[in-house]
Symmetry: C2
Subunit: 252 residues, 2 copies
Protein backbone atom coordinates (compact mmCIF):
# COMPACT_ATOMS: atom_id res chain seq x y z
CA UNK A 1 0.00 0.00 0.00
CA UNK A 2 1.46 3.36 -1.05
CA UNK A 3 0.41 6.26 1.18
CA UNK A 4 0.07 9.77 -0.21
CA UNK A 5 -0.32 13.27 1.15
CA UNK A 6 -1.79 15.61 -1.46
CA UNK A 7 -0.82 19.28 -1.32
CA UNK A 8 -2.92 21.76 -3.30
CA UNK A 9 -6.57 22.15 -4.28
CA UNK A 10 -6.57 23.04 -7.99
CA UNK A 11 -7.83 21.04 -10.99
CA UNK A 12 -4.90 18.64 -11.16
CA UNK A 13 -4.91 18.00 -7.41
CA UNK A 14 -8.66 17.34 -7.46
CA UNK A 15 -8.43 14.95 -10.41
CA UNK A 16 -5.51 13.16 -8.78
CA UNK A 17 -7.42 12.87 -5.51
CA UNK A 18 -10.43 11.33 -7.27
CA UNK A 19 -8.27 8.87 -9.16
CA UNK A 20 -6.08 7.90 -6.19
CA UNK A 21 -9.01 7.44 -3.85
CA UNK A 22 -10.53 4.89 -6.25
CA UNK A 23 -7.31 3.05 -7.06
CA UNK A 24 -6.29 -0.18 -5.37
CA UNK A 25 -3.04 -0.18 -3.43
CA UNK A 26 -3.04 3.59 -2.85
CA UNK A 27 -4.32 5.49 0.16
CA UNK A 28 -4.59 9.26 0.36
CA UNK A 29 -3.80 9.84 4.03
CA UNK A 30 -4.28 13.59 4.02
CA UNK A 31 -5.16 16.50 1.77
CA UNK A 32 -3.72 19.94 2.40
CA UNK A 33 -5.24 23.12 0.97
CA UNK A 34 -4.23 26.69 1.77
CA UNK A 35 -7.93 27.51 2.01
CA UNK A 36 -9.85 24.75 3.72
CA UNK A 37 -13.17 25.61 2.05
CA UNK A 38 -11.96 24.44 -1.37
CA UNK A 39 -11.53 20.85 -0.12
CA UNK A 40 -13.94 20.87 2.84
CA UNK A 41 -16.53 18.87 0.88
CA UNK A 42 -14.14 15.88 0.97
CA UNK A 43 -13.66 15.87 4.77
CA UNK A 44 -15.86 12.80 5.23
CA UNK A 45 -13.58 10.75 2.98
CA UNK A 46 -10.12 12.03 3.81
CA UNK A 47 -8.31 14.01 6.52
CA UNK A 48 -8.11 17.61 5.32
CA UNK A 49 -5.95 20.40 6.74
CA UNK A 50 -4.86 23.96 6.06
CA UNK A 51 -1.95 23.77 8.49
CA UNK A 52 1.24 22.71 6.74
CA UNK A 53 2.96 21.99 10.07
CA UNK A 54 0.42 19.21 10.70
CA UNK A 55 1.28 17.02 7.71
CA UNK A 56 1.31 13.31 8.55
CA UNK A 57 3.88 10.73 7.51
CA UNK A 58 3.46 9.23 4.03
CA UNK A 59 5.42 7.54 1.25
CA UNK A 60 4.92 10.38 -1.23
CA UNK A 61 4.01 14.04 -0.91
CA UNK A 62 2.48 15.38 -4.11
CA UNK A 63 2.68 19.15 -4.49
CA UNK A 64 0.09 20.23 -7.01
CA UNK A 65 0.02 24.01 -6.73
CA UNK A 66 0.70 26.85 -9.19
CA UNK A 67 4.17 26.80 -10.74
CA UNK A 68 5.28 29.90 -8.87
CA UNK A 69 4.39 28.44 -5.47
CA UNK A 70 6.06 25.02 -5.82
CA UNK A 71 9.46 26.08 -4.56
CA UNK A 72 8.11 27.94 -1.52
CA UNK A 73 5.72 25.16 -0.53
CA UNK A 74 8.49 22.55 -0.78
CA UNK A 75 10.61 24.72 1.50
CA UNK A 76 7.83 24.99 4.09
CA UNK A 77 7.46 21.22 4.49
CA UNK A 78 8.19 20.35 8.16
CA UNK A 79 10.29 17.24 7.49
CA UNK A 80 13.37 15.91 5.67
CA UNK A 81 14.45 12.96 3.54
CA UNK A 82 10.99 12.00 2.33
CA UNK A 83 9.84 11.73 -1.30
CA UNK A 84 8.34 15.04 -2.49
CA UNK A 85 7.17 15.46 -6.08
CA UNK A 86 5.48 18.22 -8.04
CA UNK A 87 3.07 17.85 -10.98
CA UNK A 88 4.21 20.68 -13.25
CA UNK A 89 5.38 20.47 -16.85
CA UNK A 90 7.61 23.51 -16.71
CA UNK A 91 9.14 23.54 -13.23
CA UNK A 92 12.50 21.80 -12.75
CA UNK A 93 13.12 18.95 -10.35
CA UNK A 94 15.79 21.05 -8.64
CA UNK A 95 13.27 23.79 -7.86
CA UNK A 96 12.04 21.51 -5.09
CA UNK A 97 13.83 22.10 -1.81
CA UNK A 98 16.76 19.75 -1.43
CA UNK A 99 16.05 18.80 2.19
CA UNK A 100 13.78 16.06 0.78
CA UNK A 101 14.11 13.39 -1.92
CA UNK A 102 12.78 14.97 -5.08
CA UNK A 103 10.71 13.88 -8.04
CA UNK A 104 8.16 14.88 -10.68
CA UNK A 105 4.82 13.28 -11.48
CA UNK A 106 3.45 15.28 -14.43
CA UNK A 107 0.16 14.14 -15.99
CA UNK A 108 -0.16 15.52 -19.53
CA UNK A 109 -3.79 16.37 -20.23
CA UNK A 110 -6.21 19.24 -20.08
CA UNK A 111 -7.96 19.03 -16.76
CA UNK A 112 -11.07 20.61 -15.48
CA UNK A 113 -12.39 20.21 -11.99
CA UNK A 114 -15.96 19.33 -12.87
CA UNK A 115 -15.82 16.40 -15.25
CA UNK A 116 -14.23 13.27 -13.87
CA UNK A 117 -11.60 11.88 -16.19
CA UNK A 118 -10.09 8.50 -16.70
CA UNK A 119 -6.34 8.38 -16.20
CA UNK A 120 -6.09 5.55 -18.71
CA UNK A 121 -5.74 8.24 -21.40
CA UNK A 122 -3.40 10.45 -19.38
CA UNK A 123 0.31 9.80 -19.93
CA UNK A 124 2.33 10.54 -16.82
CA UNK A 125 5.86 11.89 -17.11
CA UNK A 126 8.13 10.81 -14.31
CA UNK A 127 11.44 12.07 -13.03
CA UNK A 128 13.33 11.23 -9.85
CA UNK A 129 16.89 11.56 -8.61
CA UNK A 130 16.98 8.05 -7.14
CA UNK A 131 16.11 4.80 -8.84
CA UNK A 132 13.82 3.51 -6.07
CA UNK A 133 11.82 6.76 -6.09
CA UNK A 134 11.46 6.52 -9.86
CA UNK A 135 10.17 2.95 -9.47
CA UNK A 136 7.63 4.07 -6.87
CA UNK A 137 6.34 6.88 -9.11
CA UNK A 138 6.13 4.49 -12.03
CA UNK A 139 4.06 2.02 -10.04
CA UNK A 140 1.84 4.89 -8.90
CA UNK A 141 1.14 5.77 -12.54
CA UNK A 142 0.51 2.12 -13.38
CA UNK A 143 -1.98 1.82 -10.55
CA UNK A 144 -3.97 4.69 -12.12
CA UNK A 145 -3.93 2.82 -15.43
CA UNK A 146 -1.70 5.47 -16.99
CA UNK A 147 1.24 4.94 -19.29
CA UNK A 148 4.35 6.43 -17.73
CA UNK A 149 7.32 7.98 -19.47
CA UNK A 150 10.70 8.81 -17.98
CA UNK A 151 11.60 12.39 -18.92
CA UNK A 152 14.23 14.72 -17.55
CA UNK A 153 13.46 18.37 -16.78
CA UNK A 154 14.54 19.67 -20.21
CA UNK A 155 12.48 17.02 -21.99
CA UNK A 156 9.45 17.74 -19.83
CA UNK A 157 9.70 21.46 -20.57
CA UNK A 158 9.92 20.76 -24.28
CA UNK A 159 6.89 18.50 -24.04
CA UNK A 160 4.97 21.19 -22.18
CA UNK A 161 5.86 23.65 -24.93
CA UNK A 162 4.79 21.23 -27.67
CA UNK A 163 1.52 20.71 -25.81
CA UNK A 164 0.76 24.42 -26.22
CA UNK A 165 0.87 23.91 -30.01
CA UNK A 166 -1.38 20.84 -30.13
CA UNK A 167 -3.78 22.08 -27.48
CA UNK A 168 -4.03 25.89 -27.16
CA UNK A 169 -2.95 26.80 -30.70
CA UNK A 170 -5.02 24.04 -32.30
CA UNK A 171 -8.02 25.17 -30.29
CA UNK A 172 -7.43 28.71 -31.55
CA UNK A 173 -7.50 27.40 -35.15
CA UNK A 174 -10.91 25.91 -34.29
CA UNK A 175 -11.91 29.33 -32.98
CA UNK A 176 -10.78 31.08 -36.19
CA UNK A 177 -12.72 28.52 -38.24
CA UNK A 178 -15.73 29.26 -36.03
CA UNK A 179 -15.38 32.98 -36.79
CA UNK A 180 -14.98 32.33 -40.52
CA UNK A 181 -18.02 30.06 -40.80
CA UNK A 182 -20.17 32.31 -38.61
CA UNK A 183 -19.40 35.30 -40.81
CA UNK A 184 -21.42 33.67 -43.60
CA UNK A 185 -24.04 32.01 -41.41
CA UNK A 186 -22.54 28.54 -41.84
CA UNK A 187 -23.10 26.11 -38.97
CA UNK A 188 -19.74 25.36 -37.25
CA UNK A 189 -21.27 21.96 -36.45
CA UNK A 190 -20.44 20.85 -40.02
CA UNK A 191 -16.71 21.01 -39.22
CA UNK A 192 -16.82 18.87 -36.09
CA UNK A 193 -16.46 15.45 -37.73
CA UNK A 194 -13.48 16.75 -39.74
CA UNK A 195 -11.87 18.10 -36.56
CA UNK A 196 -12.23 14.71 -34.90
CA UNK A 197 -10.99 12.83 -37.98
CA UNK A 198 -7.90 15.09 -38.23
CA UNK A 199 -6.97 14.25 -34.63
CA UNK A 200 -7.79 10.55 -35.06
CA UNK A 201 -5.75 10.22 -38.25
CA UNK A 202 -2.41 10.98 -36.57
CA UNK A 203 -3.00 8.39 -33.86
CA UNK A 204 -1.66 5.85 -36.36
CA UNK A 205 0.10 8.00 -38.97
CA UNK A 206 2.76 10.72 -38.68
CA UNK A 207 1.57 14.33 -39.14
CA UNK A 208 3.99 14.49 -42.07
CA UNK A 209 2.27 11.61 -43.85
CA UNK A 210 -1.21 12.80 -42.89
CA UNK A 211 -0.89 16.23 -44.52
CA UNK A 212 -3.15 17.12 -47.49
CA UNK A 213 -4.61 20.31 -48.97
CA UNK A 214 -3.65 23.28 -51.14
CA UNK A 215 -0.41 24.19 -49.33
CA UNK A 216 0.94 20.62 -49.49
CA UNK A 217 -0.07 20.33 -53.19
CA UNK A 218 1.34 23.81 -53.84
CA UNK A 219 -2.03 24.67 -55.42
CA UNK A 220 -1.35 28.38 -55.91
CA UNK A 221 -4.73 29.08 -57.47
CA UNK A 222 -6.70 27.88 -54.44
CA UNK A 223 -4.31 29.59 -52.01
CA UNK A 224 -4.77 32.87 -53.88
CA UNK A 225 -8.55 32.47 -53.86
CA UNK A 226 -8.57 31.75 -50.14
CA UNK A 227 -6.42 34.79 -49.34
CA UNK A 228 -8.76 36.95 -51.39
CA UNK A 229 -11.76 35.65 -49.44
CA UNK A 230 -10.20 36.45 -46.06
CA UNK A 231 -11.20 39.92 -44.94
CA UNK A 232 -9.86 39.67 -41.41
CA UNK A 233 -6.15 40.57 -41.44
CA UNK A 234 -5.49 38.34 -38.47
CA UNK A 235 -7.06 35.31 -40.14
CA UNK A 236 -5.04 36.11 -43.25
CA UNK A 237 -1.77 36.28 -41.32
CA UNK A 238 -2.45 32.81 -39.87
CA UNK A 239 -3.32 31.46 -43.32
CA UNK A 240 -0.08 32.80 -44.79
CA UNK A 241 2.17 31.62 -41.97
CA UNK A 242 0.67 28.12 -41.72
CA UNK A 243 0.74 27.72 -45.51
CA UNK A 244 4.41 28.68 -45.64
CA UNK A 245 5.08 26.33 -42.71
CA UNK A 246 3.49 23.43 -44.59
CA UNK A 247 5.42 24.28 -47.74
CA UNK A 248 8.64 24.44 -45.76
CA UNK A 249 7.97 21.00 -44.27
CA UNK A 250 7.06 19.48 -47.63
CA UNK A 251 9.88 21.12 -49.58
CA UNK A 252 7.85 23.48 -51.73
CA UNK B 1 -34.83 3.69 -56.55
CA UNK B 2 -32.48 6.57 -57.43
CA UNK B 3 -30.11 5.81 -60.30
CA UNK B 4 -26.69 7.39 -60.48
CA UNK B 5 -23.93 7.76 -63.03
CA UNK B 6 -20.61 8.49 -61.40
CA UNK B 7 -18.06 10.58 -63.31
CA UNK B 8 -14.46 10.56 -62.09
CA UNK B 9 -12.09 8.09 -60.46
CA UNK B 10 -10.38 9.96 -57.62
CA UNK B 11 -10.65 9.47 -53.85
CA UNK B 12 -14.04 11.11 -53.43
CA UNK B 13 -15.55 9.27 -56.43
CA UNK B 14 -14.22 5.96 -55.13
CA UNK B 15 -15.56 6.52 -51.61
CA UNK B 16 -18.92 7.60 -53.03
CA UNK B 17 -19.05 4.53 -55.25
CA UNK B 18 -18.38 2.23 -52.30
CA UNK B 19 -21.02 3.92 -50.17
CA UNK B 20 -23.67 4.13 -52.90
CA UNK B 21 -23.20 0.55 -54.00
CA UNK B 22 -23.95 -0.63 -50.46
CA UNK B 23 -26.87 1.72 -49.80
CA UNK B 24 -30.50 0.67 -50.16
CA UNK B 25 -32.59 2.56 -52.69
CA UNK B 26 -29.60 3.67 -54.77
CA UNK B 27 -28.18 2.05 -57.87
CA UNK B 28 -24.95 3.10 -59.56
CA UNK B 29 -25.81 2.40 -63.21
CA UNK B 30 -22.45 3.38 -64.65
CA UNK B 31 -19.02 4.66 -63.70
CA UNK B 32 -17.04 6.83 -66.06
CA UNK B 33 -13.29 7.34 -65.78
CA UNK B 34 -11.01 9.12 -68.24
CA UNK B 35 -8.58 6.25 -67.85
CA UNK B 36 -10.38 2.93 -67.66
CA UNK B 37 -7.61 1.19 -65.72
CA UNK B 38 -8.27 3.22 -62.58
CA UNK B 39 -11.78 1.74 -62.25
CA UNK B 40 -11.34 -1.49 -64.20
CA UNK B 41 -11.23 -3.54 -61.01
CA UNK B 42 -14.90 -2.69 -60.41
CA UNK B 43 -16.11 -3.89 -63.85
CA UNK B 44 -17.69 -7.03 -62.40
CA UNK B 45 -19.95 -4.94 -60.16
CA UNK B 46 -20.80 -1.94 -62.33
CA UNK B 47 -20.75 -0.87 -65.97
CA UNK B 48 -17.54 1.11 -66.50
CA UNK B 49 -16.66 3.32 -69.45
CA UNK B 50 -14.07 5.79 -70.65
CA UNK B 51 -16.30 7.08 -73.45
CA UNK B 52 -18.29 10.10 -72.31
CA UNK B 53 -20.59 9.88 -75.35
CA UNK B 54 -21.81 6.49 -74.05
CA UNK B 55 -23.28 7.67 -70.74
CA UNK B 56 -26.59 5.99 -69.92
CA UNK B 57 -29.77 7.62 -68.61
CA UNK B 58 -29.90 8.21 -64.84
CA UNK B 59 -31.57 10.40 -62.21
CA UNK B 60 -28.32 12.07 -61.12
CA UNK B 61 -24.89 12.51 -62.70
CA UNK B 62 -22.22 13.07 -60.07
CA UNK B 63 -19.09 14.76 -61.40
CA UNK B 64 -16.26 14.08 -58.99
CA UNK B 65 -13.16 15.27 -60.83
CA UNK B 66 -10.50 17.90 -60.07
CA UNK B 67 -11.85 21.42 -59.59
CA UNK B 68 -10.31 22.68 -62.82
CA UNK B 69 -11.96 19.97 -64.92
CA UNK B 70 -15.53 20.24 -63.60
CA UNK B 71 -16.67 22.94 -66.02
CA UNK B 72 -15.24 21.20 -69.09
CA UNK B 73 -16.61 17.78 -68.17
CA UNK B 74 -20.08 19.24 -67.57
CA UNK B 75 -19.91 20.82 -71.02
CA UNK B 76 -18.99 17.51 -72.66
CA UNK B 77 -22.03 15.66 -71.33
CA UNK B 78 -24.04 14.41 -74.35
CA UNK B 79 -27.51 15.30 -72.97
CA UNK B 80 -29.67 18.16 -71.63
CA UNK B 81 -32.09 18.87 -68.80
CA UNK B 82 -30.86 16.18 -66.46
CA UNK B 83 -29.59 16.66 -62.91
CA UNK B 84 -25.82 17.13 -62.87
CA UNK B 85 -23.96 17.81 -59.63
CA UNK B 86 -20.34 18.24 -58.64
CA UNK B 87 -18.68 17.36 -55.31
CA UNK B 88 -16.32 20.29 -54.84
CA UNK B 89 -16.16 22.70 -51.92
CA UNK B 90 -14.76 25.58 -53.90
CA UNK B 91 -16.40 25.41 -57.34
CA UNK B 92 -19.61 27.38 -57.89
CA UNK B 93 -22.90 25.83 -58.93
CA UNK B 94 -22.91 28.07 -61.99
CA UNK B 95 -19.60 26.66 -63.16
CA UNK B 96 -21.60 23.64 -64.29
CA UNK B 97 -22.82 23.93 -67.87
CA UNK B 98 -26.35 25.36 -67.95
CA UNK B 99 -27.69 22.90 -70.49
CA UNK B 100 -28.49 20.62 -67.54
CA UNK B 101 -30.18 21.06 -64.15
CA UNK B 102 -27.40 21.88 -61.73
CA UNK B 103 -26.52 21.02 -58.17
CA UNK B 104 -23.76 20.39 -55.65
CA UNK B 105 -23.21 17.36 -53.40
CA UNK B 106 -20.14 18.20 -51.31
CA UNK B 107 -19.05 15.71 -48.65
CA UNK B 108 -16.85 17.44 -46.09
CA UNK B 109 -14.17 15.03 -44.89
CA UNK B 110 -10.63 13.97 -45.59
CA UNK B 111 -10.80 11.06 -47.95
CA UNK B 112 -8.30 8.51 -48.92
CA UNK B 113 -8.85 5.78 -51.45
CA UNK B 114 -7.59 2.88 -49.39
CA UNK B 115 -9.47 2.93 -46.12
CA UNK B 116 -13.21 2.54 -46.41
CA UNK B 117 -15.05 5.19 -44.46
CA UNK B 118 -18.50 5.45 -42.99
CA UNK B 119 -20.56 8.32 -44.34
CA UNK B 120 -22.41 8.55 -41.05
CA UNK B 121 -19.67 10.95 -39.93
CA UNK B 122 -19.50 12.84 -43.21
CA UNK B 123 -21.72 15.93 -43.41
CA UNK B 124 -22.91 16.56 -46.96
CA UNK B 125 -23.44 20.12 -48.18
CA UNK B 126 -26.18 20.42 -50.75
CA UNK B 127 -27.11 23.08 -53.27
CA UNK B 128 -29.55 22.99 -56.16
CA UNK B 129 -31.34 25.54 -58.30
CA UNK B 130 -34.68 23.71 -58.11
CA UNK B 131 -36.53 22.54 -55.02
CA UNK B 132 -37.17 18.99 -56.31
CA UNK B 133 -33.48 18.52 -57.13
CA UNK B 134 -32.55 19.73 -53.68
CA UNK B 135 -34.95 17.19 -52.16
CA UNK B 136 -33.46 14.39 -54.23
CA UNK B 137 -29.90 15.29 -53.14
CA UNK B 138 -31.04 15.49 -49.54
CA UNK B 139 -32.59 12.02 -49.71
CA UNK B 140 -29.39 10.74 -51.34
CA UNK B 141 -27.39 12.04 -48.37
CA UNK B 142 -29.89 10.52 -45.92
CA UNK B 143 -29.62 7.16 -47.63
CA UNK B 144 -25.86 7.21 -46.95
CA UNK B 145 -26.61 7.96 -43.30
CA UNK B 146 -25.08 11.45 -43.64
CA UNK B 147 -26.38 14.67 -42.16
CA UNK B 148 -27.10 17.13 -44.95
CA UNK B 149 -26.81 20.91 -44.86
CA UNK B 150 -28.18 23.39 -47.39
CA UNK B 151 -25.40 25.82 -48.31
CA UNK B 152 -25.12 28.27 -51.17
CA UNK B 153 -21.90 28.62 -53.17
CA UNK B 154 -20.47 31.44 -51.01
CA UNK B 155 -21.19 29.53 -47.82
CA UNK B 156 -19.67 26.36 -49.23
CA UNK B 157 -16.50 28.22 -50.22
CA UNK B 158 -16.23 29.72 -46.75
CA UNK B 159 -16.68 26.27 -45.22
CA UNK B 160 -13.98 24.87 -47.49
CA UNK B 161 -11.67 27.67 -46.38
CA UNK B 162 -12.45 27.06 -42.69
CA UNK B 163 -11.74 23.36 -43.25
CA UNK B 164 -8.18 24.25 -44.27
CA UNK B 165 -7.68 25.75 -40.80
CA UNK B 166 -9.09 22.83 -38.80
CA UNK B 167 -7.56 20.16 -41.01
CA UNK B 168 -4.36 21.20 -42.84
CA UNK B 169 -3.22 23.92 -40.43
CA UNK B 170 -4.08 21.89 -37.33
CA UNK B 171 -2.18 18.95 -38.78
CA UNK B 172 0.80 21.25 -39.34
CA UNK B 173 0.68 22.25 -35.65
CA UNK B 174 0.90 18.52 -34.88
CA UNK B 175 3.91 18.38 -37.20
CA UNK B 176 5.62 21.29 -35.46
CA UNK B 177 4.98 19.64 -32.09
CA UNK B 178 6.51 16.47 -33.55
CA UNK B 179 9.62 18.43 -34.56
CA UNK B 180 9.85 20.11 -31.15
CA UNK B 181 9.54 16.87 -29.16
CA UNK B 182 11.91 14.98 -31.45
CA UNK B 183 14.59 17.65 -31.01
CA UNK B 184 14.95 16.56 -27.36
CA UNK B 185 14.29 12.86 -27.89
CA UNK B 186 10.79 13.02 -26.44
CA UNK B 187 8.31 10.46 -27.76
CA UNK B 188 5.58 12.25 -29.81
CA UNK B 189 3.31 9.42 -28.65
CA UNK B 190 2.89 11.20 -25.30
CA UNK B 191 0.97 14.02 -27.02
CA UNK B 192 -1.56 11.84 -28.81
CA UNK B 193 -4.17 11.58 -26.03
CA UNK B 194 -4.04 15.37 -25.60
CA UNK B 195 -4.54 15.86 -29.35
CA UNK B 196 -7.60 13.64 -29.28
CA UNK B 197 -8.97 15.29 -26.13
CA UNK B 198 -8.56 18.78 -27.65
CA UNK B 199 -10.64 17.73 -30.66
CA UNK B 200 -13.20 15.90 -28.52
CA UNK B 201 -13.66 18.81 -26.15
CA UNK B 202 -15.10 21.15 -28.78
CA UNK B 203 -17.66 18.57 -29.89
CA UNK B 204 -19.79 19.83 -27.00
CA UNK B 205 -18.19 23.17 -26.08
CA UNK B 206 -17.32 26.24 -28.17
CA UNK B 207 -13.62 26.75 -28.98
CA UNK B 208 -13.93 30.07 -27.16
CA UNK B 209 -15.01 28.35 -23.93
CA UNK B 210 -12.54 25.50 -24.37
CA UNK B 211 -9.44 27.69 -24.48
CA UNK B 212 -6.82 27.39 -21.71
CA UNK B 213 -3.07 27.95 -21.39
CA UNK B 214 -0.51 30.74 -21.01
CA UNK B 215 -1.84 33.00 -23.81
CA UNK B 216 -5.41 32.90 -22.49
CA UNK B 217 -4.20 33.52 -18.91
CA UNK B 218 -1.83 36.22 -20.18
CA UNK B 219 0.94 34.40 -18.31
CA UNK B 220 3.83 36.51 -19.61
CA UNK B 221 6.47 34.63 -17.68
CA UNK B 222 5.66 31.28 -19.30
CA UNK B 223 5.28 32.84 -22.76
CA UNK B 224 8.71 34.44 -22.41
CA UNK B 225 10.24 31.15 -21.26
CA UNK B 226 8.69 29.30 -24.20
CA UNK B 227 9.95 31.84 -26.73
CA UNK B 228 13.42 31.55 -25.25
CA UNK B 229 13.33 27.75 -25.63
CA UNK B 230 12.34 27.91 -29.31
CA UNK B 231 15.43 27.86 -31.48
CA UNK B 232 13.65 27.39 -34.80
CA UNK B 233 12.58 30.81 -36.12
CA UNK B 234 9.62 29.30 -37.92
CA UNK B 235 8.32 27.60 -34.78
CA UNK B 236 8.80 30.87 -32.94
CA UNK B 237 6.81 32.85 -35.53
CA UNK B 238 3.90 30.42 -35.15
CA UNK B 239 4.10 30.65 -31.35
CA UNK B 240 4.00 34.45 -31.49
CA UNK B 241 1.18 34.71 -34.00
CA UNK B 242 -1.07 32.10 -32.36
CA UNK B 243 -0.43 33.62 -28.92
CA UNK B 244 -1.42 37.06 -30.16
CA UNK B 245 -4.46 35.53 -31.89
CA UNK B 246 -5.62 33.94 -28.61
CA UNK B 247 -5.02 37.19 -26.74
CA UNK B 248 -7.01 39.11 -29.35
CA UNK B 249 -9.92 36.68 -29.02
CA UNK B 250 -9.87 36.79 -25.24
CA UNK B 251 -9.39 40.53 -24.95
CA UNK B 252 -5.86 40.61 -23.58
Amino acid sequence: MVSIVLIGAGNVATQLYKAFSKANGIVVKQWYGRHLDSIASYRNEVAVTDDISQLVTADVYIISVSDDAISTVSEQLPFNDRLVVHTSGSVGIHDLNMKNRRGVFYPLQTFNKASEMSFVDVPICIEALQKEDEDLLKSLANTLGSKSYKLNTTQRRVLHLAAVYVNNFTNQLYRVAHEITESEGVDFEILKPLILETASKIQHMSPYMAQTGPAKRNDKKTIKKHLKMLENEHHKAIYELMTSSIQKTHGR
